[in-house]
Amino acid sequence: MATSRVRKRNFQQVSRPVNVVLNMAAMLVSIVCVFPFLFVVIISFTDEMVLARNGYKIVPEAWSLDAYRYIFKTGESLLRAYGVTIFITVVGTLISLVFNTLYAYAISRRSFAYRKFFSFFAVFTMLFNGGMVPTYIVVTQLLHLQDSIGALIWPMAVNAFFILIMRTFFVTMIPDAVIESGKIDGAGEFQTLFRLVLPLALPGLATIGLFSALAYWNDWFNALLYIENPKLVPLQSMLMRIESSMQFLMQNASNSSISTTILTEMPQETSRMAMVVLATGPIVLAYPFFQRYFVQGLTVGAVKE
């Protein structure tokens, strides 16, 4: 979004040597940001034996595809976790879009008699919260969501921050004349919203939709709190569980009778890194295309009515 504006700004430029220094500094930071991901990719393609001997190397002695072969051969649980993650991401994002947009549209309408009250009702949740323990008790003992897919979807469905972003979008981007024209045509509130307003608010929908999708894809916290059933474990949470059970086995392998077969059945080091790559891959490939919507959310969020 910034490029078109930048081109017009032809002020004095920094001198060539300074430009070289700036480029080197920016390149260094960029490499620091991207390197860990590349490193994990390299580890996932390393030969398991070589890795056990030499540790994690930037240029390993021997490469191998075994980690990925292993995953695709025995990867039923990974596939299932992928399925859970995709499901909660799609369904969660849709619910979040509908709930947040409807609420935001209503409180953006000047003619809505209760708009002050409902604006406050949403904003107050950003200022004060019951905390983790009461929330946990409500979700498990009142709503009985533990060990259900709902526990992964509902706690993140509504977000006051998204509502504020969307409200700003409606207020600043949609001329009152559009809504008035809907009224004159005799369209109801819902018709006006869906036929006239939403097509104009697509960038806003994209922004909160993408923020929400990212949050669902990356969520492990709700699974940590509410999910025991291994069939309902999403991707991020599975990676976490593998890690802690590995640690547990390592710590107890020497002094207990835990059979070594469990240890050998656990995915090897390289396979775990391959899972990290598979869990991150879609995001790393997709975000450069959606980057501008995240920036938009950030800058729109700061602007107010």
Binding site: R9, S30, P36, L102, F221
Partner: protein, 310 residues
């Protein structure tokens, strides 16, 4: 009177219908837990008749949970850690983000500048679980890259996950690594919005690039810097749970420098079973957090009404 408010209700029927789903959500997932905070003042016992009856039948103990909490050394440690880490994040984060934004603006080749931005943005999109794996590939005692480096210099391999003294540096570094690209883009957008005639006038007056940055760019950014900083100060009592839980791999040896209010509350709930103290700590966090947000928002409002949260 009654008929008037009923008429008003009917006129707003459709818009009320739109608000309804999210409003119900707010009641269930925000306001009920807020009301549920009373369990900080009781000895909570779950009984099989459900949530409300559990609360009703628990014994009222007043401030006892808070007394227990503040008698432990934990209260001091978690408060200190939460606040000091956040202060470091705020100060270093601000300096680095602004510096990077200025740097990215001044780079001559726009396409290169865009590429750097995209690269620096990447860590923002990764979950803390993934970041935990990344960090492990550097800090693993037997295989990690860092111990390979130190062994070149003839130093012994360090067991990083058992040495609390290094973690303040590690955690601050990881936080900056994850968020600085994202934050700098916000400042970058603000710099793009600065009125170009200011720079032209400065050039006519013979001001060089450095002088332009010091006398135009930075002063133009101060209001944004102040506002973002104040809003961050308002959240100084809240820690990023993922950073402090996933990155140190929940290692008990590191608690002295990695335990923050959020991780303490979680452990009280799920592992150590100190339910009352855990709830009390959560309410202590929400309450102080609330006061801080209100105060900082009040100050933001004084500076620039448009940037206040409410």
């Amino acid at each position: 009177m009654l008929s008037r408010s009923f008429k008003r209700f009917r006129q707003n029927k459709m818009l009320l219908l739109m608000v309804l789903p999210a409003a119900i959500w707010f009641v269930l997932f925000s306001y009920l837990p807020m009301a549920g905070s009373v369990i900080a003042f009781v000895e909570y016992r779950y009984d099989s008749n459900g949530f409300l009856s559990s609360i009703w039948n628990s014994k009222w103990v007043g401030l006892r949970n808070f007394e227990f909490l503040f008698q432990t050394s934990d209260a001091l440690i978690i408060t200190r850690n939460t606040v000091l880490y956040n202060l470091a994040f705020i100060v270093l984060g601000l300096v680095l983000a602004v510096a990077l934004a200025v740097l990215l603006v001044e780079i001559r080749n726009r396409r290169m500048s865009k590429t750097y931005q995209t690269a620096m943005f990447m860590p923002y999109f990764l979950s803390w679980v993934i970041v935990g794996y990344f960090v492990f590939s550097f800090l693993s005692t037997s295989k990690g890259l860092l111990n390979q480096l130190t062994s070149w210099f003839g130093l012994d391999a360090l067991n990083w996950y058992a040495e609390p003294k290094y973690w303040p540096f590690i955690l601050v570094f990881i936080y900056l690594w994850k968020f600085v690209g994202y934050n700098s883009i916000m400042y970058l957008a603000a710099i793009m919005g600065i009125d170009g005639s200011l720079y032209e006038a400065a050039m006519i007056d013979g001001a060089g690039k450095w002088k332009q940055i010091v006398h135009i760019t930075l002063p133009q950014l101060t209001s944004l810097m102040t506002i973002l900083t104040l809003l961050a100060v308002g959240r100084i009592f809240y820690a990023d749970f993922g950073l402090f839980y996933q990155v140190p791999r929940d290692s008990g040896l590191l608690y002295s420098t990695t335990n923050v209010i959020d991780t303490y509350v979680y452990r009280g709930l799920k592992t150590s079973g100190e339910f009352g103290m855990s709830t009390a700590a959560g309410l202590y966090q929400s309450f102080v957090g609330f006061v801080l947000v209100i105060t900082s928002n009040y100050i933001v409002r004084k500076i620039n009404k448009d940037n206040a949260l409410f």
